[in-house]
């Protein structure tokens, strides 16, 4: 159902049918969330008794969700295009006055893709973690948190209203906090967890204010209601809501200016980085923007803001990725950059939504693949993350090398690999829609080629630079199996775009984009992109591959390198602009509180204390004295009554 039209294309309205009517596997929708949640509850409440089989249960629930999601996908593909949105009402959640919020689930072509990504990649990472966390005494707890995360993320993408999304939103924030700080004995991990949590809360302010504005404007948080009435609200309101949603999305998806937590989040165990900080959680912001397309379509200014933020982040992340020697931080920078691409596509409106989701999925595959590969390398290198200590690992870790290489080719957009299709379409759309941002995206692609080649060369090629006592070895098969699967997906992910399938699939959710006029044939854009990437790769080859790499980072480097190593001074900017003024304000408030407010209170307290000192003499402990005072009271009341009545 399409309700209103603007600028030649129509905005679809969320108009689901109920799960009971849909029949089939749809009434079991709630189980998708309930299974991992149950796993988390059992593992967290079960305590040590579940240590022996906790990881198996955790994996089983994730796989169970995956199987169910697959069945849902098959069932959905068998339905008519207009009937693919299915909602399930579980119970009345909040019922206050005129506001009714149900615990409703919504599965439609958009969320089913997320479902597949989360449960699929999630299951693989669960399997991988069995091996990766084998020697960790707290492995059962780790799986409990992973399950909690999966449940929360599924809640986020399956909720039918913004409050449900918010529930999942906070849930993934919590799980992320727990998992980043999983090795809480390391102060850096604890600090990173706190930082991620706090910065995410800043984003959550935007999210919760947006929800509040939904209530004020539409009297509801339900997608159905809001999308049906979106045309009725003023553009100013919609722009405000859009900007607030963008703030929320920026927090969760590590977009500038709330990007600082993602790099520190690499303190968590590597499977966490792969699952949360590459494949799923950080994409929640993209999901939010795409899901709220009815808001952004009505607010062009907010859309522009999305595009600007996305482009800045895209370049920011890419630059950081170029300078990091820590393999996980280099990948984290790349994640920021790639999410920037997704946000850019999402900001381009109806032309880009499908490509944003497409890139999100392929990125989920190849980035999870590469993170897990990095984990595998670290596993073999005694948890050393410094790439300057790697080198020449391709012979010793053949499986890891080959799978990592697949991910590498995918991310730089090597022709026919999954990343090629998705990134190419984003750059093409951006170039057509707004050339300035398109060119930035194109440059970003070149930089991507540079830093990924650098990672590849420093890790697997060149001479060996291992430290003494390190004996690199291939990881066990329980870890390589997910790598192989993800590598295959990284290669073949482009299948989703076969015949424009994903575009057509998402039409019921994001609307059908009108064909835009291409100044050149599409192949020209692809060639340009490939050429730019090739330049990046070549520069990397010349500057890294051809020269010996010092095993400690050189210090006499240009300003740009130094800035990039310091995350482009993101923390310094935060400190100067927010943290220090905040501290000063707090100090001022504390002293004011001490002298003024506390003085008032302590003065009053002393007065009351003096009174009490006098009065406490009456409390002599004799029950008969107390009884006498009661009787005296009775006499007085009685006398008063009589006097009044006489």
């Amino acid at each position: 159902m399409f309700l209103y039209t603007e600028g030649g294309h129509s905005i679809p309205v969320v108009d689901p049918i109920s799960a009971a009517d849909a029949g089939g596997v749809f009434p079991l929708l709630w189980l998708v969330i309930a299974l991992p949640l149950l796993g988390a509850v059992v593992l967290l409440l079960g305590g040590r008794r579940t240590d022996a089989w906790g990881h198996l249960l955790g994996t089983a629930t994730a796989v169970g969700s995956f199987v169910l999601s697959t069945l849902l996908l098959i069932a959905m593909m068998g339905r008519e295009e207009g009937d693919r949105s299915v909602t399930q009402h579980l119970w009345d959640w909040v019922s206050v006055g005129g506001y009714e919020i149900g615990m409703d689930l919504l599965v439609d072509p958009l969320s089913i893709l997320f479902l597949m990504l989360i449960t699929g990649v999630g299951s693989l990472i669960h399997v991988y973690s069995i091996g990766y966390m084998e020697h960790d005494p707290r492995r059962r707890r780790f799986f409990a948190y992973l399950n909690l995360f999966v449940a929360a993320m599924l809640m986020l993408v399956l909720a039918e209203n913004y409050l449900g999304v918010f529930l999942g939103w906070e849930g993934v924030g919590l799980a992320s906090y727990l998992l980043i700080g999983f090795w809480q004995h390391k102060p850096s991990a604890a600090a990173a967890a706190k930082k991620a949590f706090v910065i995410n809360r800043v984003g959550d302010i935007g999210m919760s204010l947006a929800i509040a504005m939904f209530f004020v404007t539409f009297g509801s948080a339900s997608f159905t209601v809001i999308s049906a009435n979106a045309s009725g609200a003023g553009e100013g309101t919609m722009t405000a809501i859009g900007l607030l949603l963008l703030l929320g999305a920026a927090g969760k998806s590590a977009q500038v200016p709330l990007q600082a937590w993602l790099l520190d989040a690499m303190e968590g165990p590597t499977p966490v980085s792969a699952l949360i900080h590459a494949a799923t959680m950080v994409t929640a912001g993209v999901y939010l923007v795409v899901r709220s397309n009815f808001v952004f379509e009505a607010a062009p200014a907010a859309q522009t803001a999305v595009v600007v933020v996305a482009t800045v982040t895209l370049l920011w992340g890419a630059v950081i990725g170029c300078a990091k020697d820590d393999i996980k931080k280099a990948l984290a920078g790349s994640t920021m950059s790639q999410i920037g691409y997704m946000m850019l596509a999402a900001g381009l409106g109806v032309y880009g939504y499908a490509y944003a989701i497409f890139h999100l999925i392929t990125h989920g595959f190849f980035k999870a693949n590469m993170f897990l590969g990095a984990g595998s390398v670290m596993h073999g290198m005694n948890d050393d993350v410094d790439m300057r200590h790697y080198g020449a690992l391709r012979k010793l870790m053949p499986v890891t090398f080959l799978t990592f290489a697949m991910g590498y080719l995918a991310i730089i957009g090597f022709p026919l690999f999954s990343g090629f299709w998705s990134k190419d379409k984003i750059i093409e759309t951006a170039l057509v829609e707004s050339p300035v941002f398109g060119i930035c995206a194109l440059i970003g692609a070149g930089v991507t080629g540079f830093y990924m080649t650098r990672v590849m060369l420093m890790t697997f090629f060149g001479e060996k630079r291992w430290q003494d006592g390190v004996h690199p070895h291939e990881s066990p098969s329980v870890m390589t199996f997910p790598l192989i699967v993800l590598a295959a997906l990284s290669v073949l992910g482009g299948v989703l775009y076969l015949g424009g399938w994903i575009k057509d699939w998402l039409v019921p959710v994001v609307g059908k984009a009108p064909e835009h006029e291409l100044p050149f044939p599409a192949i020209v854009f692809s060639l340009i992109t490939v050429a730019v990437v090739a330049v990046g790769v070549a520069i990397a080859w010349l500057s890294v591959g051809r020269r010996p790499i010092p095993s400690t980072a050189p210090t006499d480097v240009s300003f740009v390198t130094r800035a990039a190593r310091n995350d482009l001074y993101g923390d310094a900017i935060h400190d100067t602009l927010v943290v220090e003024p905040g501290k000063a304000l707090t100090r001022g408030l504390v002293s004011a509180d001490r002298s003024l407010v506390d003085g008032l209170f302590t003065g009053g307290a002393s007065l009351v204390q003096g009174l009490g000192q006098g009065l406490r003499r009456a409390q002599n402990g004799f029950v008969r004295s107390y009884a006498l005072s009661i009787l005296a009271g009775v006499v007085i009341v009685l006398a008063a009554l009589l006097v009044v009545n006489l």
Binding site: R624, V634, V635, L642, L646
Partner: protein, 280 residues
């Protein structure tokens, strides 16, 4: 009716005042019982036969019983000291009380409700039936709540009266072991003390039993009797026996000896036939 009322009032008010002044709790309880029974009779005159019965059964029967029970437990001799410990409490209490009474009486004197309607109509179906109708219709919820209150009170009383056992309950085996230990340490007898001697002519509890060698067993007599000095000594008893034997010898002229003792005495006296020899 009027006479009944005034008569009963003449009992009630002095009895109630007595509670204020008697020093022993038992006397107070008796006076209170008198007040309650008198009130019961007043209820009867006020056409409340059911409450009359309940007042006597529950109040005078059960509650006063409980009071007396506790009085006995606490010590029936305990009496209140007349010295007032809280300064000013007594005269303040009396002043407040008297003022309260005066105010109440003034208040009562103010009102005039006319003559009593009487309960003839309400009691026409029987007083108990009328009460039951009310109790199980309009007041049924209150009734149930009261039931819950009673159960709670019963449980509460049990909880309060419960005393925590601090050491395990002694078993038969441990008690036996304790006896043996006492015997080895202090020489306390292992077996029960010997029973006193049993003689036909005497209240035998005050007479010690005789051991096989003819000596009296002092422990066989209760300590209380020993303390009072009412124990008959075995030699004294021996005198009796010789006297008996002499009498018997007088009657049939036969030789004195164990044979006569055997003829007229019960089997239990088998002991004391040896007694004369031992005592002599």
């Amino acid at each position: 009716m009027s006479i009944t009322f005034w008569l009963l009032s003449a009992i009630i008010v002095p009895a109630a005042l007595g509670i204020l002044f008697v020093r022993k709790a038992v006397h107070a309880a008796l006076l209170l019982a008198a007040v309650m029974i008198s009130l019961a009779i007043i209820y009867l005159t006020l056409e409340a036969p059911f409450l009359f019965a309940v007042q006597i059964i529950v109040y005078t029967g059960a509650i006063m019983m409980l009071f007396l029970f506790v009085v006995m437990l606490v010590g029936v001799d305990a009496s209140d000291s007349v010295v007032e410990t809280i300064r000013g409490q007594r005269w303040l209490a009396w002043t407040a009380g008297v003022v309260l009474g005066a105010l109440l009486l003034v208040g009562v004197a103010q009102i005039s409700l006319g003559t009593m309607v009487g309960l003839d109509a309400a009691n026409s179906g029987g007083n108990i039936e009328g009460l039951a109708d009310l109790l199980f219709s309009r007041y049924v919820l209150l009734f149930e709540v009261t039931a819950a209150l009673l159960i709670t009170a019963a449980v509460g009383a049990m909880v309060l009266a419960h005393r925590e056992r601090l050491e395990p309950k002694p078993t038969q085996a441990s008690m036996a072991a304790q006896r043996v230990r006492d015997f080895s340490e202090t020489g306390r007898p292992l077996v029960p003390l010997p029973s006193p001697g049993v003689y036909a002519r005497h209240n035998a509890v005050d007479t010690p039993a005789l051991l096989p060698d003819g000596t009296p067993a002092e422990e066989s007599v209760a300590r209380v009797l020993a303390a009072r000095g009412t124990v008959r000594s075995a030699p004294a008893l021996a005198d009796d026996i010789t006297e008996v034997q002499r009498t018997l010898g007088d009657v049939d002229g036969g030789p004195a000896g164990g044979a006569t003792g055997g003829t007229d005495q019960a089997s239990g006296s088998g002991h004391n036939t040896e007694n004369p020899e031992a005592g002599a």
